[in-house]
Symmetry: C2
Subunit: 252 residues, 2 copies
């Protein structure tokens, strides 16, 4: 259970912080479906707060690319498209490739050991429950998360962990991403750790890039399978839990 961006427990200090964290979770996990219009008076009423901090929170969501805003019209939750997901993978290929390179240069031996342990846990879990599910959803992100952190590049870390990873999580919640590739991906993770342990930046970057590129191609194939030709903007598949519009959320 990785804790992206300290969203757990430690709730932000200010009202806008808390409502931002909560809205982000609701959007990422699909509680507020893609394409939904964000009504300021309505949400303010539900959360029992004023429109001021709510607008602040919406602004931050926009900065994360989780909602889109048009002046004098309002904000909508982004609608996920196949095209955008593929663009996201290209970004990750470039950025996480660099992260792996830097990690190979700077990661401490101690952290490398920790990373190895993490992989062992993943293996056990995968063997145990055969539920490649866990591995490919949270476990995979956790692995990547650690390598990014190990890059030591604050800007890279912020970009990947604060923005892009919430988007990736959102895509995983909305599209299934069942991944017939889990075992292969797991082995690739092993190779990446080896390259890092060998202090071979070139190799670490190369393998990480191929790893992410393979994921992208896999996703591309899945899309072509489901929608042989057109289907240029497939919206969310799962309706994701019937939004609790009745019954206000617990107090902040």
């Amino acid at each position: 259970m990785p804790d992206f961006n300290d969203q757990l427990g430690q709730q932000g200090v200010t009202l806008a912080d808390r409502v931002f964290a909560r809205l982000r979770q609701a959007i990422v996990e699909g509680e507020i479906p893609s394409g939904t219009k964000i009504s300021e008076p309505e949400l303010a009423g539900e959360y029992g707060i004023s429109r001021g901090p709510l607008r602040d929170a919406i602004g931050r969501l926009e900065a994360c690319h989780l909602v889109e805003r048009r002046p004098n019209v309002g904000a909508r939750v982004v609608s996920l498209t196949q095209e955008d997901l593929l663009e996201l993978y290209l970004l990750r290929e470039a950025l996480e490739g660099m992260a792996a390179r830097l990690a190979a240069e700077r990661m401490s031996g101690r952290d490398i050991d920790e990373l190895r342990k993490l992989l062992k846990q993943h293996q056990e879990r995968a063997e145990l429950q055969e539920g490649i599910a866990y591995f490919q959803t949270e476990g995979d992100l956790d692995f990547h998360y650690r390598i990014i952190k190990a890059s030591g590049n604050a800007r890279l870390i912020k970009l990947l962990c604060d923005d892009l990873y919430h988007l990736m999580r959102m895509y995983r919640f909305q599209f299934g991403m069942a991944s017939s590739r889990a075992l292969i991906a797991f082995r690739e993770h092993g190779h990446i750790v080896e390259a890092i342990a060998d202090r071979d930046p070139e190799m670490a970057e190369l393998i990480m890039r191929r790893h992410i590129r393979s994921s992208r191609i896999n996703v591309e194939l899945l899309f072509d399978e489901k929608a042989p030709k057109g289907a240029k903007a497939t919206p969310a598949i799962r309706s994701a839990g019937a939004g609790n519009s009745a019954g206000a959320p617990p107090p902040l």
Copy 2:
């Protein structure tokens, strides 16, 4: 004269848009020096607006990493450090490398011709006024700008052109970046265009990455020269035009 992010003329629709654009320019160009505290009442008074849209604008500046905010304390203009600049170069190496790769795959023949023309203009200008200055400041950014746009990856474009390039501009305004490397860089630009025209993505990415890496190393050397040992956080060098604190800015 590239027009990063449509900041010219076409002023935003809403008040917050306009004050955001104006503040960003003031910060990037050093009119508001690094490290300055952003006082909401004061600025609101100067611009003749309320604190609401101003706070909105400050929030967007924070999303661009141009100001840093602490709850209940306030916002300050980011203080530029050598370390952060080097991190920025690493990001650019990864991202613009990918942009060059994509451009080689997708750039239209027409746009490639345009790019060649641009280089010719740069050459003439450089020869004419011998003022490598222009080339290395705005011209260089313009060249990179076009390749990024040609990548066709909306997310990549947004990231580089909306956020990172304003930061690069800010560093160029604050630190000199005189660049003894202008001529070499110009030739490298030529090689990049060739690789794109050859539809050789691997090569285009490789050269772009080396190009940016060379810039980074050059900057690193400059820093080591000026501050042989410590000097871990060199603040702005130029005081940049005596900030017009007296005399309110023209109306929005």
